[in-house]
């Protein structure tokens, strides 16, 4: 019990300092199930400029070692595929998609 309290306190300390009351129940719908096409980044052509992440309305593209898409939430709007200056993102029909990934 003592250990759990310590652990939780530590977790709270890592949060950014919040300036007032904030709800702790966060809206979180798995909007990835809306998608009928999926953006697939061709990492060989990607120059990691970050433009796709900048324009993704859902905030699901992250600049890590390679650019990654969080398919649990990606709605498949296609904005990233249009804005990529290298045209390095394929927009694949979910029904024809073969490979790893949830949903």
């Amino acid at each position: 019990m003592q250990e759990l309290v310590k652990q939780r306190t530590k977790m709270l300390e890592t949060l950014p300092k919040i300036v007032g009351p904030v709800s702790v129940k966060v809206s979180d719908v798995h909007t990835g199930v809306w998608r009928y096409r999926r953006p697939v980044i061709r990492h060989d052509d990607c120059i990691r400029c970050g433009i796709c992440a900048e324009y993704c309305p859902c905030g699901v593209i992250e600049k890590a070692e390679v650019m990654t898409v969080d398919y649990t939430y990606c709605k498949g709007c296609g904005i990233c595929t249009v804005e990529c200056p290298k045209k390095a993102i394929d927009f694949v029909l979910e029904s024809e998609f073969e490979g790893e990934g949830d949903q």
Binding site: T14, K17, I18, V29, G78
Partner: protein, 288 residues
């Protein structure tokens, strides 16, 4: 532990929603020391209902008439507590800004409270089904103007030129870096700031969801949307329109303009040219 999103993923806005993009980009600039508020509108999706919210910062759902009054109150409370490093961000649509919330906005600006007011303009009351607002472009079909709007839109930017704003700017989802730069500037001001953002809405304007940013870029190029800012009594034009002859293309890429004829197209082009000429002349003055 996963990094905390200042705006949660999994919001139920439409595919390709520009309003969500603005909300996210805004918090990237302003950071966790921000308090936000939204009126009834699509942005209320972000604030959520009941005890659930998408914001990782304190947020308030206001009434449609008086978001700026809420912002004024929060701003003054923060001042009394000496919390001057916290930003108050109002986040309202065109209906809540041009129409129903206008008198409240006018009052808040005149009283001079420190707050940033972002108006995302999707040119209609989208949340209630896409009825016209005074921001809707001439000729556009909406729920309440099925044959095309007969009136030209209200120019809220020009209206606000004569109010004591500490900073005023227009921005667009077509140039998100410019928006972020302007917001960062607004955050340094000790008074009321207004940023008016062009927000092409795929659901209401009827274009494919992947075109949101492209439509916004075309609006800037064609002179349908002007990028400028006003501070210290002077207007700076950030980007000149490339070619007004691109306006018919801008219109034809949105199904809401399906019913316009050549005469209305000519009127829209004429209006855009006049607007830009007026802005150029205003930018010569040093008294605004």
């Amino acid at each position: 532990m996963a990094e905390l999103d200042l705006l949660s993923k999994g919001m139920t806005t439409c595919q390709g929603c520009p309003m969500e993009l603005i909300g996210r980009s805004a918090l990237e600039v302003l950071g966790p020391k921000t308090i936000t508020m939204t009126p009834p509108s699509c942005s209320a999706i972000l604030t959520g209902s009941g005890d659930e919210t998408g914001w990782g910062i304190p947020s308030v759902q206001t009434v449609l008439m008086s978001l700026p009054a809420f912002a004024s109150g929060v701003s003054e409370a923060l001042k009394i507590r000496g919390m001057d490093d916290v930003t108050v961000m109002g986040f309202a649509g065109d209906g809540g800004t041009f129409d129903i919330g206008l008198q409240s906005l006018s009052g808040a600006i005149e009283r001079g409270h420190k707050a940033i007011y972002i108006c995302y303009n999707n040119e209609a009351y989208m949340n209630t089904g896409g009825q016209r607002s005074s921001a809707t472009t001439l000729g556009a079909s909406t729920k309440t103007t099925p044959t095309g709007k007969k009136e030209v839109s209200k120019n809220i930017d020009f209206m606000l030129l004569h109010t004591p704003l500490a900073y005023q700017a227009t921005a667009s989802v077509g140039n998100i870096r410019d928006f972020k730069r302007k917001l960062a500037k607004a955050a340094t001001k000790d008074g009321p700031c207004f940023i008016h953002v062009m927000t092409p809405c795929p659901s209401g304007w009827k274009f494919p969801a992947d075109q949101t940013v492209q439509i916004a870029k075309l609006a800037i190029k064609s002179g349908m949307w002007l990028l400028f800012e006003r501070e210290d009594g002077k207007i700076t034009i950030n980007q000149k329109p490339t070619n007004f002859e691109l306006i018919p293309e801008y219109l034809s890429r949105q199904k809401r303009f399906n019913r316009i004829n050549d005469e209305i197209t000519a009127q829209i082009i004429e209006e855009a040219k006049t607007r830009y000429e007026t802005l150029q002349q205003l930018s010569q003055l040093a008294c605004l």
